[in-house]
């Protein structure tokens, strides 16, 4: 992501915040994927491991409430027909995925108690075909959840 000016600060003021970060908009650092040919399970013939460091720069700017919300990371990996991701292993009705996230950059800006959390993680295919990592996160205190690292491993069937 050379030359990117990453978000400096996004003020979080609602307790069910939603942040959408786009790899193509300089909102993710060190985004990469590697695509590997596999022979199963089922009709899966590709394993893709997508990694990166999302930059939510989510600043609570308020010490009291617990802010919990969603961070959506739109990657540049796309699955479009004739490639398939449904009904390729035992009739799967969702993207076959295993997603890992972790805190990568956290700031506490004043004395006092704090919480940083990544509570849930999953990966989906958007209607436009882009693969998106979903992170459920939480913060409390005068803090900034600056960056969150992710790894999404997905299976699909590549045509041809």
């Amino acid at each position: 992501m050379g030359g990117c000016l990453f978000p400096v600060e996004t003020i979080i003021s609602t307790q069910n915040f939603k942040l959408s970060l786009d790899v193509d908009q300089c909102e993710v650092e060190s985004h990469r994927f590697c695509e590997i040919t596999v022979s199963g399970p089922g009709r899966a013939n590709r394993l893709v491991i997508i990694t990166g460091i999302a930059v939510p720069a989510a600043d609570t700017n308020s010490p009291d409430p617990l802010f919990r919300g969603d961070i959506f990371v739109k990657t540049d990996f796309i699955i479009t027909p004739p490639d398939e991701f449904l009904n390729i292993v035992d009739g799967n009705q969702n993207l076959l995925q295993a997603t890992y996230v972790t805190l990568a950059d956290i700031n506490n800006e004043s004395e006092g108690s704090f919480i940083f959390a990544v509570d849930e993680a999953s990966t989906q295919r958007n209607v436009d075909g882009r693969i998106q990592v979903n992170i459920r996160a939480a913060m409390q205190g005068d803090v900034t959840l600056a960056r969150v690292a992710y790894q999404a491993s997905i299976l699909f069937h590549k045509a041809g």
């Binding site: 650092e29 060190s30 990469r32 994927f33 590697c34 695509e35 590997i36 040919t37 596999v38 022979s39 491991i49 997508i50 990694t51 990166g52 460091i53 890992y100 972790t102 805190l103 990568a104 950059d105 956290i106 700031n107 506490n108 800006e109 004043s110 004395e111 006092g112 704090f114 600056a146 960056r147 690292a149 992710y150 790894q151």
Partner: protein, 255 residues
């Protein structure tokens, strides 16, 4: 620069720079293609007493590759694994992950770090690197034979046996051979096929293993059989389409 090496150990033999370091080597459909998955926790022990402190960690992963994997051939992630702070305001960051090659070909994971705050320490960072590499199969470069007698002369300590392209042996004596590769054998190792033009007189095993990471493998020859006249025997080693030969000459007993 914070330099870490997965192979570094303390005086007790325990890793003291990277713990829980593992590498999984997955063979892909193409027998020359491998997926390497590296995981571990680097003991960066990167601290700050107040102001911002930035540095880059370089973790040598203990595997050599012939060239740096291109985009699309690797992905990596890092994260905070252990942090400490005795005051409340702080920054802990792992950022901008990439890979590099050291001059000796060792694969290196790089990661920017930042710490700010009184008595703040980023003690450990976790990582996972996924790399697709093409393993160039080793080539068989030589087949050598030896009478297995210690080398060295008068007034010199005995040395290892000398291996060469040919050897002259008597009847009923042991001998051995050595296959040599142009590069270390990939995991799990390779087998080099062997044959003799006269198996009853100078027999060889069907094959000799070269262990993963080694560039040579030794094999024992059968004790030489009886001959009436000097007999030349060709020993052949084959790896893939490449053959190498060595000459064993067995001399009859003196009359």
């Amino acid at each position: 620069m914070i330099l870490l090496d997965v192979t570094h150990t303390d005086s007790s033999g325990n890793p003291d720079q990277v713990v829980s370091a593992e590498v999984m080597d997955v063979l892909l459909g193409d027998p020359q293609s491998h997926l390497l998955i590296f995981t571990g926790i680097g003991l960066v022990n990167f601290g700050s007493d107040d102001g911002p402190n930035r540095d880059t960690a370089r973790i040598r992963l203990g595997r050599t590759v012939t060239q740096l994997p291109a985009d699309g051939q690797f992905s990596a992630t890092v994260g905070l694994a252990s942090i400490g702070n005795t005051e409340s305001d702080f920054i802990f960051a792992t950022d901008k992950v990439d890979i590099d090659l050291d001059p000796d070909g060792t694969l290196v994971l790089t990661c920017d770090l930042a710490v700010q705050g009184d008595e703040s320490g980023l003690n450990r960072m976790s990582y996972q690197l996924n790399v697709i590499i093409q393993v160039v199969p080793p080539q068989l470069t030589a087949l050598l034979v030896s009478n297995l007698e210690p080398s060295g002369g008068l007034n010199q300590p005995p040395g290892p046996p000398i291996f060469g392209p040919s050897v002259i042996l008597g009847v009923g004596v042991p001998w051995g051979g050595r296959v040599v590769l142009d590069r270390p054998a990939p995991a799990p190792g390779v087998f080099v096929n062997l044959s003799s033009s006269n198996q009853p007189v100078a027999g060889v095993p069907v094959s000799v293993p070269v262990l993963a990471g080694a560039t040579a493998g030794d094999f024992p020859g059968n004790t030489t059989g009886f001959v009436n006249v000097s007999t030349d025997i060709t020993i052949t080693a084959q790896l893939g389409s490449v053959q190498q030969t060595a000459l064993v000459t067995v001399e009859p007993p003196a009359r």
